[in-house]
Symmetry: C2
Subunit: 241 residues, 2 copies
Protein backbone atom coordinates (compact mmCIF):
# COMPACT_ATOMS: atom_id res chain seq x y z
CA UNK A 1 0.00 0.00 0.00
CA UNK A 2 1.38 3.38 -0.93
CA UNK A 3 -0.05 5.67 1.77
CA UNK A 4 -0.60 3.49 4.80
CA UNK A 5 -0.76 6.35 7.32
CA UNK A 6 -3.27 8.35 5.32
CA UNK A 7 -5.50 5.33 4.79
CA UNK A 8 -5.24 4.34 8.45
CA UNK A 9 -6.31 7.75 9.68
CA UNK A 10 -9.22 7.86 7.28
CA UNK A 11 -10.37 4.45 8.42
CA UNK A 12 -10.02 5.18 12.15
CA UNK A 13 -11.27 8.73 12.32
CA UNK A 14 -14.51 8.80 14.31
CA UNK A 15 -16.11 11.85 12.66
CA UNK A 16 -17.28 12.57 9.17
CA UNK A 17 -14.86 15.45 8.91
CA UNK A 18 -12.84 14.14 6.01
CA UNK A 19 -15.98 14.50 3.95
CA UNK A 20 -16.33 18.11 5.06
CA UNK A 21 -12.68 18.79 4.27
CA UNK A 22 -12.95 17.06 0.91
CA UNK A 23 -15.83 19.41 0.13
CA UNK A 24 -13.74 22.40 1.17
CA UNK A 25 -10.93 21.22 -1.07
CA UNK A 26 -13.06 20.79 -4.15
CA UNK A 27 -14.78 24.13 -3.73
CA UNK A 28 -11.54 26.07 -3.79
CA UNK A 29 -10.18 27.23 -7.09
CA UNK A 30 -6.48 26.44 -7.12
CA UNK A 31 -4.48 28.32 -9.68
CA UNK A 32 -0.74 28.63 -10.26
CA UNK A 33 0.96 31.18 -8.03
CA UNK A 34 3.92 33.44 -8.64
CA UNK A 35 6.13 30.77 -7.09
CA UNK A 36 5.13 28.15 -9.64
CA UNK A 37 6.72 27.84 -13.05
CA UNK A 38 4.70 27.63 -16.27
CA UNK A 39 6.08 26.96 -19.75
CA UNK A 40 5.66 29.16 -22.81
CA UNK A 41 3.36 27.92 -25.63
CA UNK A 42 -0.41 27.61 -25.17
CA UNK A 43 -0.72 23.80 -25.13
CA UNK A 44 2.27 23.28 -22.92
CA UNK A 45 1.23 26.11 -20.61
CA UNK A 46 -2.23 24.58 -20.17
CA UNK A 47 -0.71 21.22 -19.31
CA UNK A 48 1.60 23.01 -16.88
CA UNK A 49 -1.27 24.76 -15.17
CA UNK A 50 -3.21 21.51 -14.83
CA UNK A 51 -0.15 19.86 -13.32
CA UNK A 52 0.32 22.72 -10.83
CA UNK A 53 -3.32 22.52 -9.79
CA UNK A 54 -2.97 18.76 -9.25
CA UNK A 55 0.18 19.27 -7.18
CA UNK A 56 -1.50 21.87 -4.98
CA UNK A 57 -4.51 19.60 -4.44
CA UNK A 58 -2.21 16.78 -3.37
CA UNK A 59 -0.29 19.11 -1.03
CA UNK A 60 -3.58 20.25 0.51
CA UNK A 61 -4.76 16.69 1.04
CA UNK A 62 -1.52 15.77 2.82
CA UNK A 63 -1.64 18.85 5.04
CA UNK A 64 -5.21 18.03 6.04
CA UNK A 65 -4.70 14.34 6.69
CA UNK A 66 -1.24 14.31 8.22
CA UNK A 67 -0.07 17.82 9.09
CA UNK A 68 3.09 19.74 8.28
CA UNK A 69 5.43 16.96 9.44
CA UNK A 70 4.25 14.82 6.52
CA UNK A 71 4.11 17.78 4.15
CA UNK A 72 7.25 16.83 2.23
CA UNK A 73 8.23 16.95 -1.44
CA UNK A 74 8.68 13.18 -1.35
CA UNK A 75 5.14 12.57 -0.05
CA UNK A 76 3.57 14.93 -2.58
CA UNK A 77 5.43 13.27 -5.46
CA UNK A 78 4.46 9.80 -4.20
CA UNK A 79 0.84 10.75 -3.82
CA UNK A 80 0.71 11.89 -7.45
CA UNK A 81 2.94 9.05 -8.67
CA UNK A 82 5.26 11.57 -10.34
CA UNK A 83 9.04 11.71 -10.08
CA UNK A 84 10.71 14.05 -7.58
CA UNK A 85 12.31 15.77 -10.59
CA UNK A 86 8.92 16.57 -12.12
CA UNK A 87 7.70 18.03 -8.83
CA UNK A 88 10.89 20.09 -8.39
CA UNK A 89 10.38 21.48 -11.89
CA UNK A 90 7.18 23.20 -10.68
CA UNK A 91 8.03 23.83 -7.03
CA UNK A 92 11.63 23.98 -5.95
CA UNK A 93 10.95 23.09 -2.33
CA UNK A 94 8.16 22.46 0.15
CA UNK A 95 8.25 26.08 1.30
CA UNK A 96 7.14 27.14 -2.20
CA UNK A 97 4.26 24.70 -2.01
CA UNK A 98 3.21 25.89 1.45
CA UNK A 99 3.43 29.50 0.30
CA UNK A 100 1.39 28.79 -2.85
CA UNK A 101 -1.43 27.39 -0.73
CA UNK A 102 -1.25 30.55 1.33
CA UNK A 103 -1.30 32.80 -1.73
CA UNK A 104 -4.34 30.87 -2.93
CA UNK A 105 -6.13 31.73 0.32
CA UNK A 106 -4.99 35.37 0.20
CA UNK A 107 -6.18 35.77 -3.40
CA UNK A 108 -9.68 34.67 -2.45
CA UNK A 109 -9.54 36.73 0.75
CA UNK A 110 -8.51 39.94 -1.02
CA UNK A 111 -11.12 39.42 -3.73
CA UNK A 112 -13.77 39.08 -1.01
CA UNK A 113 -12.64 42.31 0.66
CA UNK A 114 -12.58 44.20 -2.64
CA UNK A 115 -16.12 43.02 -3.40
CA UNK A 116 -17.35 44.25 0.01
CA UNK A 117 -15.73 47.64 -0.55
CA UNK A 118 -17.31 47.96 -3.99
CA UNK A 119 -20.77 46.96 -2.78
CA UNK A 120 -20.89 49.77 -0.16
CA UNK A 121 -19.01 52.73 -1.65
CA UNK A 122 -20.85 55.37 0.42
CA UNK A 123 -21.83 53.37 3.50
CA UNK A 124 -18.89 52.70 5.82
CA UNK A 125 -21.06 50.93 8.41
CA UNK A 126 -22.64 48.62 5.85
CA UNK A 127 -19.15 47.99 4.47
CA UNK A 128 -17.74 47.14 7.89
CA UNK A 129 -20.66 44.82 8.58
CA UNK A 130 -20.22 43.04 5.25
CA UNK A 131 -16.47 42.74 5.86
CA UNK A 132 -17.02 41.18 9.26
CA UNK A 133 -19.62 38.78 7.88
CA UNK A 134 -17.14 37.72 5.21
CA UNK A 135 -14.49 37.02 7.87
CA UNK A 136 -16.96 34.96 9.90
CA UNK A 137 -17.88 33.09 6.74
CA UNK A 138 -14.19 32.32 6.10
CA UNK A 139 -13.86 30.76 9.55
CA UNK A 140 -16.44 28.16 8.48
CA UNK A 141 -14.06 26.72 5.90
CA UNK A 142 -12.39 23.67 7.45
CA UNK A 143 -9.30 23.74 5.23
CA UNK A 144 -8.67 27.41 5.98
CA UNK A 145 -8.79 26.65 9.71
CA UNK A 146 -6.46 23.66 9.40
CA UNK A 147 -4.04 25.64 7.25
CA UNK A 148 -3.83 28.42 9.82
CA UNK A 149 -3.34 25.95 12.69
CA UNK A 150 -0.32 24.62 10.82
CA UNK A 151 0.91 28.13 10.08
CA UNK A 152 0.77 29.11 13.77
CA UNK A 153 2.37 25.89 14.99
CA UNK A 154 5.22 25.84 12.47
CA UNK A 155 5.88 29.59 12.74
CA UNK A 156 7.06 29.09 16.31
CA UNK A 157 10.21 27.28 15.18
CA UNK A 158 10.53 27.98 11.43
CA UNK A 159 11.70 31.48 10.40
CA UNK A 160 10.31 31.15 6.85
CA UNK A 161 6.82 30.25 8.05
CA UNK A 162 7.03 32.92 10.76
CA UNK A 163 7.72 35.53 8.09
CA UNK A 164 4.64 34.35 6.14
CA UNK A 165 2.56 34.54 9.31
CA UNK A 166 3.83 37.96 10.28
CA UNK A 167 3.24 39.48 6.84
CA UNK A 168 -0.26 38.05 6.76
CA UNK A 169 -1.19 39.50 10.16
CA UNK A 170 0.30 42.89 9.36
CA UNK A 171 -2.00 42.83 6.33
CA UNK A 172 -5.06 41.62 8.28
CA UNK A 173 -4.49 44.39 10.85
CA UNK A 174 -4.05 47.05 8.16
CA UNK A 175 -7.27 45.89 6.43
CA UNK A 176 -9.20 45.99 9.71
CA UNK A 177 -7.82 49.47 10.42
CA UNK A 178 -8.95 50.76 7.03
CA UNK A 179 -12.53 49.46 7.48
CA UNK A 180 -12.70 50.84 11.04
CA UNK A 181 -11.07 54.19 10.21
CA UNK A 182 -13.72 54.90 7.58
CA UNK A 183 -16.43 54.73 10.26
CA UNK A 184 -15.11 57.70 12.23
CA UNK A 185 -12.28 59.52 10.46
CA UNK A 186 -11.62 61.67 13.55
CA UNK A 187 -10.99 58.72 15.84
CA UNK A 188 -7.34 58.76 17.03
CA UNK A 189 -5.11 56.43 15.01
CA UNK A 190 -3.97 54.49 18.06
CA UNK A 191 -7.58 53.80 19.05
CA UNK A 192 -8.33 52.59 15.52
CA UNK A 193 -5.30 50.31 15.77
CA UNK A 194 -6.44 48.86 19.08
CA UNK A 195 -9.95 48.24 17.80
CA UNK A 196 -8.47 46.55 14.72
CA UNK A 197 -6.41 44.35 17.03
CA UNK A 198 -9.46 43.34 19.10
CA UNK A 199 -11.48 42.63 15.94
CA UNK A 200 -8.70 40.45 14.49
CA UNK A 201 -8.39 38.62 17.83
CA UNK A 202 -12.14 37.91 17.82
CA UNK A 203 -12.02 36.53 14.29
CA UNK A 204 -8.93 34.39 14.91
CA UNK A 205 -10.56 33.14 18.10
CA UNK A 206 -13.51 31.90 16.03
CA UNK A 207 -11.07 29.82 13.98
CA UNK A 208 -9.68 28.34 17.19
CA UNK A 209 -13.03 27.64 18.84
CA UNK A 210 -14.37 25.84 15.80
CA UNK A 211 -11.48 23.36 15.83
CA UNK A 212 -10.78 21.21 12.81
CA UNK A 213 -13.96 19.24 13.41
CA UNK A 214 -16.31 22.05 14.46
CA UNK A 215 -17.25 20.09 17.59
CA UNK A 216 -17.58 23.07 19.93
CA UNK A 217 -19.66 25.02 17.42
CA UNK A 218 -22.49 22.52 17.72
CA UNK A 219 -22.62 23.06 21.47
CA UNK A 220 -22.85 26.83 21.10
CA UNK A 221 -25.51 27.01 18.40
CA UNK A 222 -26.61 30.58 17.76
CA UNK A 223 -23.30 32.13 18.78
CA UNK A 224 -23.18 34.13 15.53
CA UNK A 225 -25.82 36.64 16.69
CA UNK A 226 -23.96 37.37 19.92
CA UNK A 227 -20.64 37.52 18.10
CA UNK A 228 -22.00 39.87 15.45
CA UNK A 229 -23.51 42.18 18.10
CA UNK A 230 -20.09 42.56 19.73
CA UNK A 231 -18.04 43.20 16.64
CA UNK A 232 -20.57 45.96 15.86
CA UNK A 233 -20.40 47.35 19.43
CA UNK A 234 -16.62 47.40 19.12
CA UNK A 235 -16.74 50.21 16.55
CA UNK A 236 -19.88 51.99 17.76
CA UNK A 237 -18.67 53.12 21.18
CA UNK A 238 -15.42 54.53 22.51
CA UNK A 239 -14.87 54.17 26.21
CA UNK A 240 -12.31 56.02 28.31
CA UNK A 241 -8.84 55.00 27.15
CA UNK B 1 27.03 17.07 17.70
CA UNK B 2 23.96 15.53 19.21
CA UNK B 3 21.18 17.99 18.32
CA UNK B 4 22.26 19.72 15.14
CA UNK B 5 18.79 20.97 14.19
CA UNK B 6 18.12 22.47 17.59
CA UNK B 7 21.49 24.20 17.67
CA UNK B 8 21.06 25.44 14.11
CA UNK B 9 17.68 27.01 14.82
CA UNK B 10 18.95 28.66 17.98
CA UNK B 11 21.92 30.09 16.12
CA UNK B 12 19.89 31.36 13.16
CA UNK B 13 16.82 32.70 14.89
CA UNK B 14 16.64 36.47 14.45
CA UNK B 15 14.72 37.32 17.63
CA UNK B 16 15.55 37.00 21.29
CA UNK B 17 12.56 34.77 21.77
CA UNK B 18 14.43 31.70 22.96
CA UNK B 19 15.42 33.73 25.99
CA UNK B 20 11.78 34.60 26.61
CA UNK B 21 10.76 30.98 26.23
CA UNK B 22 13.56 29.78 28.47
CA UNK B 23 12.26 32.16 31.13
CA UNK B 24 8.74 30.81 30.68
CA UNK B 25 10.06 27.27 31.09
CA UNK B 26 11.97 27.94 34.28
CA UNK B 27 9.10 29.75 35.91
CA UNK B 28 6.74 26.81 35.53
CA UNK B 29 6.62 24.25 38.26
CA UNK B 30 6.71 20.86 36.62
CA UNK B 31 5.55 18.04 38.83
CA UNK B 32 4.79 14.40 38.07
CA UNK B 33 1.34 13.90 36.62
CA UNK B 34 -1.13 11.06 36.98
CA UNK B 35 0.29 9.57 33.78
CA UNK B 36 3.82 9.32 35.19
CA UNK B 37 5.03 6.45 37.31
CA UNK B 38 6.77 6.94 40.66
CA UNK B 39 8.39 4.25 42.78
CA UNK B 40 7.60 3.45 46.42
CA UNK B 41 10.22 4.33 49.09
CA UNK B 42 11.07 7.94 49.97
CA UNK B 43 14.58 8.13 48.48
CA UNK B 44 13.65 6.30 45.32
CA UNK B 45 10.43 8.28 44.96
CA UNK B 46 12.33 11.56 45.21
CA UNK B 47 14.81 10.41 42.57
CA UNK B 48 11.85 9.37 40.43
CA UNK B 49 10.16 12.74 40.75
CA UNK B 50 13.37 14.54 39.86
CA UNK B 51 13.75 12.33 36.80
CA UNK B 52 10.16 13.01 35.73
CA UNK B 53 10.68 16.75 36.08
CA UNK B 54 13.86 16.54 33.98
CA UNK B 55 12.02 14.53 31.32
CA UNK B 56 9.19 17.04 31.12
CA UNK B 57 11.62 19.96 30.84
CA UNK B 58 13.38 18.20 27.96
CA UNK B 59 10.05 17.48 26.26
CA UNK B 60 9.08 21.15 26.63
CA UNK B 61 12.38 22.33 25.16
CA UNK B 62 11.95 20.07 22.11
CA UNK B 63 8.36 21.18 21.54
CA UNK B 64 9.44 24.83 21.67
CA UNK B 65 12.48 24.53 19.44
CA UNK B 66 11.31 21.98 16.88
CA UNK B 67 7.55 21.37 17.15
CA UNK B 68 5.49 18.23 17.46
CA UNK B 69 7.15 16.47 14.53
CA UNK B 70 10.40 16.28 16.54
CA UNK B 71 8.56 15.53 19.78
CA UNK B 72 9.51 11.83 19.86
CA UNK B 73 10.53 9.43 22.63
CA UNK B 74 13.84 8.96 20.86
CA UNK B 75 14.63 12.70 20.82
CA UNK B 76 13.67 13.16 24.47
CA UNK B 77 15.87 10.23 25.54
CA UNK B 78 18.77 11.52 23.43
CA UNK B 79 18.49 15.02 24.80
CA UNK B 80 18.76 13.68 28.36
CA UNK B 81 21.34 11.05 27.42
CA UNK B 82 19.21 8.33 29.00
CA UNK B 83 18.26 4.99 27.46
CA UNK B 84 14.90 4.57 25.72
CA UNK B 85 14.11 1.95 28.35
CA UNK B 86 14.58 4.43 31.20
CA UNK B 87 12.29 6.93 29.47
CA UNK B 88 9.65 4.28 28.79
CA UNK B 89 9.72 3.35 32.47
CA UNK B 90 8.35 6.82 33.31
CA UNK B 91 6.31 7.58 30.21
CA UNK B 92 5.05 4.73 28.05
CA UNK B 93 4.70 6.81 24.90
CA UNK B 94 4.94 10.35 23.56
CA UNK B 95 1.21 10.86 24.04
CA UNK B 96 1.72 10.47 27.82
CA UNK B 97 4.43 13.11 27.71
CA UNK B 98 2.30 15.51 25.68
CA UNK B 99 -0.61 14.95 28.03
CA UNK B 100 1.56 15.51 31.12
CA UNK B 101 2.62 18.92 29.80
CA UNK B 102 -1.06 19.70 29.28
CA UNK B 103 -1.99 18.57 32.79
CA UNK B 104 0.78 20.79 34.10
CA UNK B 105 -0.84 23.77 32.37
CA UNK B 106 -4.33 22.78 33.53
CA UNK B 107 -3.20 22.42 37.16
CA UNK B 108 -1.87 25.98 37.18
CA UNK B 109 -4.92 27.22 35.27
CA UNK B 110 -7.41 25.65 37.68
CA UNK B 111 -5.46 26.91 40.72
CA UNK B 112 -5.62 30.42 39.24
CA UNK B 113 -9.39 30.17 38.74
CA UNK B 114 -9.94 28.85 42.26
CA UNK B 115 -7.91 31.74 43.70
CA UNK B 116 -10.02 34.27 41.79
CA UNK B 117 -13.23 32.66 43.05
CA UNK B 118 -12.00 32.72 46.64
CA UNK B 119 -10.85 36.33 46.45
CA UNK B 120 -14.33 37.60 45.44
CA UNK B 121 -16.86 35.39 47.21
CA UNK B 122 -19.67 37.99 47.20
CA UNK B 123 -18.75 40.09 44.16
CA UNK B 124 -19.54 38.33 40.86
CA UNK B 125 -18.44 41.30 38.76
CA UNK B 126 -15.09 41.63 40.55
CA UNK B 127 -14.70 37.87 40.19
CA UNK B 128 -15.43 37.94 36.45
CA UNK B 129 -13.01 40.83 35.98
CA UNK B 130 -10.25 39.01 37.91
CA UNK B 131 -10.93 35.83 35.92
CA UNK B 132 -10.62 37.66 32.62
CA UNK B 133 -7.42 39.41 33.75
CA UNK B 134 -5.97 36.01 34.66
CA UNK B 135 -6.83 34.66 31.19
CA UNK B 136 -5.19 37.68 29.53
CA UNK B 137 -2.16 37.16 31.76
CA UNK B 138 -1.95 33.51 30.65
CA UNK B 139 -1.83 34.56 27.01
CA UNK B 140 1.43 36.40 27.78
CA UNK B 141 3.22 33.13 28.51
CA UNK B 142 5.13 32.14 25.37
CA UNK B 143 5.30 28.43 26.14
CA UNK B 144 1.55 28.28 26.78
CA UNK B 145 0.92 29.86 23.38
CA UNK B 146 3.32 27.54 21.59
CA UNK B 147 1.84 24.49 23.33
CA UNK B 148 -1.67 25.44 22.21
CA UNK B 149 -0.56 26.08 18.62
CA UNK B 150 0.76 22.52 18.57
CA UNK B 151 -2.42 21.22 20.18
CA UNK B 152 -4.61 22.86 17.52
CA UNK B 153 -2.43 21.77 14.62
CA UNK B 154 -2.01 18.16 15.70
CA UNK B 155 -5.65 17.78 16.76
CA UNK B 156 -6.70 18.15 13.14
CA UNK B 157 -5.25 14.75 12.23
CA UNK B 158 -4.60 12.96 15.53
CA UNK B 159 -7.65 11.60 17.39
CA UNK B 160 -5.81 11.40 20.74
CA UNK B 161 -4.74 15.05 20.63
CA UNK B 162 -8.20 16.03 19.35
CA UNK B 163 -9.75 14.39 22.42
CA UNK B 164 -7.38 16.39 24.69
CA UNK B 165 -8.30 19.57 22.84
CA UNK B 166 -12.02 18.91 22.95
CA UNK B 167 -12.06 18.11 26.68
CA UNK B 168 -10.05 21.23 27.43
CA UNK B 169 -12.42 23.51 25.49
CA UNK B 170 -15.50 21.92 27.00
CA UNK B 171 -13.93 22.79 30.35
CA UNK B 172 -12.95 26.34 29.33
CA UNK B 173 -16.50 26.95 28.08
CA UNK B 174 -18.04 25.54 31.27
CA UNK B 175 -15.76 27.75 33.40
CA UNK B 176 -16.67 30.84 31.39
CA UNK B 177 -20.36 29.97 31.71
CA UNK B 178 -20.11 29.68 35.48
CA UNK B 179 -18.41 33.09 35.87
CA UNK B 180 -20.92 34.73 33.49
CA UNK B 181 -23.98 33.00 34.96
CA UNK B 182 -23.18 34.38 38.43
CA UNK B 183 -23.46 37.94 37.08
CA UNK B 184 -27.14 37.64 36.14
CA UNK B 185 -28.71 34.41 37.37
CA UNK B 186 -31.92 35.10 35.40
CA UNK B 187 -30.16 35.36 32.05
CA UNK B 188 -31.32 32.52 29.77
CA UNK B 189 -28.89 29.58 29.72
CA UNK B 190 -28.43 29.71 25.95
CA UNK B 191 -27.47 33.39 26.13
CA UNK B 192 -24.95 32.60 28.88
CA UNK B 193 -23.53 29.86 26.65
CA UNK B 194 -23.19 32.21 23.69
CA UNK B 195 -21.48 34.88 25.77
CA UNK B 196 -19.11 32.23 27.15
CA UNK B 197 -18.34 31.21 23.58
CA UNK B 198 -17.57 34.80 22.51
CA UNK B 199 -15.40 35.35 25.61
CA UNK B 200 -13.43 32.16 24.93
CA UNK B 201 -13.01 33.17 21.28
CA UNK B 202 -11.66 36.57 22.34
CA UNK B 203 -9.13 34.98 24.70
CA UNK B 204 -8.01 32.35 22.20
CA UNK B 205 -7.69 35.10 19.62
CA UNK B 206 -5.25 36.91 21.90
CA UNK B 207 -3.08 33.78 21.90
CA UNK B 208 -3.15 33.76 18.10
CA UNK B 209 -2.47 37.47 17.63
CA UNK B 210 0.54 37.40 19.93
CA UNK B 211 2.25 34.71 17.87
CA UNK B 212 5.16 32.76 19.29
CA UNK B 213 7.36 35.86 19.15
CA UNK B 214 4.84 38.49 20.24
CA UNK B 215 5.71 40.57 17.15
CA UNK B 216 2.18 41.93 16.52
CA UNK B 217 1.70 42.87 20.18
CA UNK B 218 4.42 45.50 19.97
CA UNK B 219 2.62 47.15 17.06
CA UNK B 220 -0.65 47.34 18.97
CA UNK B 221 0.65 48.68 22.29
CA UNK B 222 -2.16 49.53 24.66
CA UNK B 223 -4.59 46.97 23.22
CA UNK B 224 -5.27 45.60 26.73
CA UNK B 225 -7.47 48.57 27.71
CA UNK B 226 -9.65 48.20 24.62
CA UNK B 227 -9.75 44.43 25.01
CA UNK B 228 -10.70 44.67 28.68
CA UNK B 229 -13.47 47.19 27.93
CA UNK B 230 -15.05 44.76 25.48
CA UNK B 231 -14.92 41.65 27.61
CA UNK B 232 -16.67 43.72 30.29
CA UNK B 233 -19.25 45.06 27.80
CA UNK B 234 -19.91 41.48 26.73
CA UNK B 235 -21.55 40.64 30.06
CA UNK B 236 -23.02 44.05 30.88
CA UNK B 237 -25.51 44.37 28.04
CA UNK B 238 -27.88 41.95 26.33
CA UNK B 239 -28.98 42.91 22.86
CA UNK B 240 -31.94 41.46 20.98
CA UNK B 241 -31.24 37.79 20.25
Amino acid sequence: MKYPRFVLIEALWPHAWHKELAGAMNSSDLSPSAGARTQAGTGRRKRGQRQIARILEAAKAILIAEGYAAFTMRNVARRLAISPGTLTYYFKQKEDLFKSLFEDFLRRHEALLAAKKEAFPDDPLGRYEAYVSALIEESRDAFTRVYFYQLWAVSSHDPFVESLRKDAYDRFLADAESFIRALAPKRPARLVRRKAFVLCAMIEGLHVMAGAHASQLRRCAGYEGEFHRHVMALVQSDGPI
